[in-house]
Symmetry: C2
Subunit: 348 residues, 2 copies
């Protein structure tokens, strides 16, 4: 770093997450001496705004990483596969928001509230987990630490912005077409690269990302495998069903947990959530207070509510977890990792 801060590169600056990265770096007043915005050749020459100033977007070529201290990648797995090693070779630390390196055993997969210390083991690349995984483990961590954790079953209610800017546009135009009684042709969701596309407006689609051979979607397997890795719990029982909803931003999760011991009072769990980093408790059923995607947009925290004791097992509870999938699920968690790198003095 120079006296003024770091040379930061954002790869994929024009995407839905990239835009939130710039906003978050601004808001956090991140110590940036130089900012390089990188994208595909298609976007090179365009500009993006950072702190009120226009920055010209350069093509993301290997040489563009010369002198970069921190490179935030969010431009798809294949670009990370190709360019993250180039950035590392040139001395940058890469924080990668794609699934390319998440399960690589040489790459730490980090949610700072949960496993910040894992950053110390990085070999140039640190992976940012899947959005739906991040918000869940933030809530699971304090439960595990205090009571132990045996089993997790999650059903998700995911927003379309997780599938990018085109998916948001599709939700809007399709909603309008249905309200007008007009025809429409689904083209993006549930998964742009898959063969069939289905109506998302006024519908619920139980497919996020492609299906694997075991009948689970890749999104579901990400939640299962990433949770075990982040929490250092290979034996943890985790199951996931991931569903896309006609919501623009904000993922919700209905989560069942079996803890390692019985908990005598519900208040104890609520207090634990209130005192945990990165969590806002919104849990007052009698006053209809609970988290909802429409109320979480633009906020960094993970919102937890509807905490209930299971009616059959004394060690089991139900939670409703909501967060902005573009912030804690992506941009904010990436910038948090960058801040942790500074705090842990891991940047040269």
């Amino acid at each position: 770093m120079t006296q003024n801060g770091f040379h930061v590169a954002v790869v994929g600056a024009t995407g839905a997450v990239g835009q939130q990265m710039l906003k978050t770096l601004e808001e956090r007043n991140f110590p940036i001496a130089k900012l390089s915005l990188l994208a595909s050749s298609r976007s090179a020459g365009k500009t993006a705004v950072y702190n009120g100033e226009e920055v010209i977007i350069q093509e993301a070529l290997p040489e563009a990483f010369e002198g970069v201290d921190i490179a935030l990648f969010s431009a798809g797995g294949s670009i990370s596969k190709a360019l993250a090693p180039e950035a590392v070779k040139r001395g940058a630390v890469v924080i990668d928001n794609t699934s390319a390196y998440r399960m690589d055993e040489n790459v730490p997969l980090v949610v700072p509230e949960v496993n910040e210390e894992d950053i110390r083991n990085h070999n140039g690349i640190i992976a940012n987990p899947n959005c739906s995984t991040i918000q869940m483990v933030v809530a699971l961590k304090p439960l595990h630490e205090k009571y132990g954790l045996n089993k997790v079953i999650v059903s998700t209610y995911q927003a379309v912005s997780g599938a990018g800017a085109k998916a948001i546009e599709e939700l809007k135009s399709q909603s309008q077409a249905i309200l007008d009684g007009k025809e429409f042709t689904p083209e993006i969701l549930p998964c742009a690269s898959d063969e069939k596309h289905y109506q998302i407006a006024f519908n619920a689609v139980p497919q996020i990302d492609k299906f694997q051979e075991n009948g689970y979607t890749f999104e579901e397997m990400k939640m299962i495998n990433e949770t075990k890795k982040i929490m250092h719990m290979p034996q943890l029982e985790v199951a996931a069903t991931c569903v896309r909803l006609p919501v623009e931003t904000g993922h919700s999760e209905s989560v069942y947990v079996e803890l390692g011991e019985n908990v005598s009072s519900l208040e104890e769990i609520k207090d634990l959530m209130t005192s945990s980093e990165g969590i806002t408790l919104q849990d007052d059923p009698q006053n209809q207070i609970y988290p909802m995607p429409a109320h979480c947009v633009g906020k960094n925290d993970v919102f937890v509510g509807r905490i209930r004791r299971d009616l059959d097992r004394n060690n089991a509870f139900h939670l409703w977890i909501v967060s902005d999938n573009l912030l804690k699920g992506a941009a904010w968690n990436s910038v948090q990792i960058a801040e942790s790198l500074i705090k842990l003095e891991l940047l040269n």
Copy 2:
């Protein structure tokens, strides 16, 4: 009955479910000698169409049930409480689609595919279960019969039509307001009789019906208690989280089941679903075939898909269950009960 059929009364004929009742009676060519459409004094004098003919709606007074053989109630719990006994006193068999009598131990709670024989024990009233319960037990029944059933955890994705015609209107007008960037004031959802109202368009609201003292909503407790009653399994472990979505019609459910024994092949469960009454299997992940609310509207069946083996427990599975909440969840199940009454020769 007369030679031509039965005298049927429909109470609440102008509501979202009442309209589907008339349609379903038509489609089933139900043996009706005389049809009485009953509603509040507010709707009396209006007309509804049955088999192409206009029928004048009468006020639902006790005397209106004179001579009625079958009375289908769907006009709210307080009306059922007040008038169902009056109908029974006059010799009618009541099929009640409200929650008024469901947990009454003198009233059978019936899903014909599951517990048709319970109808024999009726004392004038037969209760139609909650919409989200019905579609779930249709899928659970064959699993329980073949393997035994220990535990069920369900997270629902429920359509607004379950909250009536005004809720549908609110979803549409609110969606339009948001697309136009205009202001709006939520007035109906999540629960018309509760204090606060929240945005439903492009949102997910974890409240259906009012909260109970234990932190569960009444809808969640309905699913838990009704499932145990219908299946005659007071010891069954059931947990539910109920969520309202911006979907007009069609409830979806993410269901985790622990069976009484291990199952050697997934195909065996798929075959079981295919051969079970009232179920259509839609489960071919490689070809992106799975149930969705947008595709179930207007169909009587319960659609089951995304059947997966739990990755941790050999006796556990995950299912995705979708059905038209106004049909199998309400009108069709009620008419089915009426058909069962005839089949079992329980009408005088």
